[in-house]
Amino acid sequence: MPTLTYAKALNQALIEEMERDDSVFVCGEEVAKWGGSFTVTMGLLDRFGEKRVRDTPISEEGIVGLGIGAAMAGLKPVVEIMTVNFIMLAMDQIVNHMAKLRYMSGGQVTVPLVIRTPGGGGLQMGSQHSQSLESMFVHVPGLVVMAPSNPYDAKGMLKTAIRDNNPVLFIEHESIYNTKSEVPEDEYFVPIGKADVKRQGDDITIIGHLKMVNVALEAAERLESEHGISAEVIDPRTLAPLDTQTLVQSVKKTGKAVIVQECWPHCSVGTDMACTIMSEAFDYLDAPVKVISSANCPFPYSRQLEQMALPNVGTVIDAVKQMLGK
């Protein structure tokens, strides 16, 4: 099976869907000539031309609105917002329009728009360029929120997102675009709302999304080899709607859970999942679910400080050991 980077897997998904369906088009800042800030749309302009691969002005509100309108009229836009930090400028279009048009119109209008946008920290981008803001979208009913952690999922999920009839916030992560994994040549899809057990284990469940899946997996390996602890690692993949069942089942089995996220702690994906798990697996839990988040502060620029702000393998291992009394 060929090995692809996360960026390239996304690129393939776009190419395949654009070849299949004329109504799919891509627009955003620097997606065409530049090939996307993170190279995801590289080569698309040459292949599909300017009508379908379009550089836009720096107008986040405008281009999300553009995507909504085009989707309402039956096209399948894939709008790239360069990073999730800038999506704050398009929140009105997302929260008050994209998420509500179907409902407010009594089901007449559909908005099959995919917004692709990467977030995450760890690259010393500073306070305004390091955020993980997916929790805000999970808060709002009417949106599908997807967040792939590896090339295989990235491709299969983006293809699904484009085919699906709902508005999708498709969150990527800036510092995993070059990570590689095997990606089948045959067409495949990763379904919406289906978590993936990335590693089987019995002693504890570790849940993470995006880059934190890698962190969780590495922690799990070391917990096994260094401490004899068998950790199950689950990637929800879709954050809304959440595959509660898979998470709860695992926790019922292990009796313990750690959630690790790059989001800030409050009103976050992490505490929300923790609440759900503690509610639904209450009698199975040996200890409260532990949520490891980024520090509750804007992200600092300075490297050491930033590293301290972010969860890492060490913090996950420590949390697990503490929970298991080891």
Partner: protein
């Protein structure tokens, strides 16, 4: 064109239609106000009384396949673009038979089939969406245009700016129609916009500009027709400012402390319905009794609409959580 000439050139049917639509909206809105105060309608409710000539004139310049999108003062636009008054009234009543199944309400009338894509409650929220509708037309090589309504207040929102730049930059067929009724709630244009000439505010987007007397339905029709023709042929956007007047409060519950009774009284002297009525009678197109018959007929339609709304059921409980998403998510099996 002088609108006097237009009366001579247009068919009786066309002229009658304009008259009837304006009267229908007027009666509809009056009844809406009554039903609101009787407790049948809730929430925000913005009436179009006084401004009828704008929607009627502009929408009659379109072909049915053209898209329309607008703001929250949308009852009139919805009706002219093809929603039945009874379905609009039922929406106001929050009934299952409403255009949006009772889920949208006054600000969110929709009729996808008729290409009326809402009612938007966010000032200027519809402008970027209008640009997207136009993009879809160009994408498919169609000949439709998009007519996008918004108020004078919307001109100061960032979304206005981004939308007009995009439409101009990419040559997209949108007619941006600013319904300048001189006030955004209690704020006059002069306190909101650095220029009171709203065409000036749109002058930096390299698009054709027009200004029209929004109290004269024939002038609005004429100006919009030219704009539509230009837009349809050149595939470029245009901007029209229609200067109009709302004879009533911003919403049904506005005491209007910010403007004088005098101002409103003066505005009412240029009632667009009377203006057309006088033209029709003056040019011998219709007799007064014929117009009265139209008035009565409109009143009947509105009364029927209320009756229909009254009789209609409220949405079922399971409507609460339906239409949120297409819960049949795509999966490989459904391919």
């Amino acid at each position: 064109m002088q609108t006097g000439e237009m009366v001579k050139e247009m068919s009786v049917e066309e002229l009658t239609k304009l008259y009837r639509q304006m009267v229908l909206i007027r009666r509809f809105e009056e009844k809406t106000n009554e039903m609101y105060h009787a407790g049948h309608i809730g929430g925000y409710c913005h009436l179009y009384i006084g401004e009828e000539a704008v929607a009627v004139g502009a929408l009659n310049a379109l072909q049915p396949s053209d898209y329309v999108i607008g703001a929250y003062r949308d009852h009139g636009h919805a009706i002219v673009k093809g929603c039945e008054p009874k379905h609009v009234m039922a929406e106001l009543f929050g009934k299952a038979t409403g255009v949006s199944k009772g889920k949208g309400g006054s600000m969110h009338m929709f009729n996808r089939e008729k290409r009326f894509l809402g009612g938007d409650g966010i000032v200027a929220g519809e402008l970027p969406i209008a640009v997207g509708l136009a993009y879809s037309i160009e994408y498919r090589g169609g000949d439709e245009v998009v007519l996008c309504f918004f108020g004078d207040g919307a001109v100061n929102e960032g979304g206005f700016h981004e939308a007009l730049n995009l439409a101009s930059l990419w040559n997209l067929p949108v007619i941006f129609l600013c319904e300048n009724n001189l006030w955004g709630m209690g704020t006059p244009v002069s306190k909101a916009s650095c220029s009171i000439e709203l065409t000036e505010r749109a002058s930096c987007y390299c698009m054709r500009l027009g200004k029209v007397d929004g109290m004269d339905v024939l002038a609005v029709l004429d100006t919009t027709r030219r704009a539509v023709k230009y837009c349809r042929n050149t595939r470029k956007p245009t901007f029209i400012e229609a200067v109009t007047q709302r004879f009533v409060g911003h919403s049904v519950s506005d005491p209007q402390i910010y403007r004088s009774k005098d101002e409103v009284a003066k505005a009412r002297q240029r009632d667009p319905i009377d203006t057309l009525k006088n033209q029709l009678i003056g040019e011998g197109v219709k007799r007064p009794d014929e117009l009265e018959a139209i008035d009565e007929d409109a009143q009947r339609e509105v009364d029927d609409a209320v009756e229909f709304a009254m009789q209609s059921p409220f949405p079922d409980a399971d409507e609460l959580c339906s239409d949120v998403m297409d819960t049949e998510y795509f999966s490989a099996e459904t391919k």
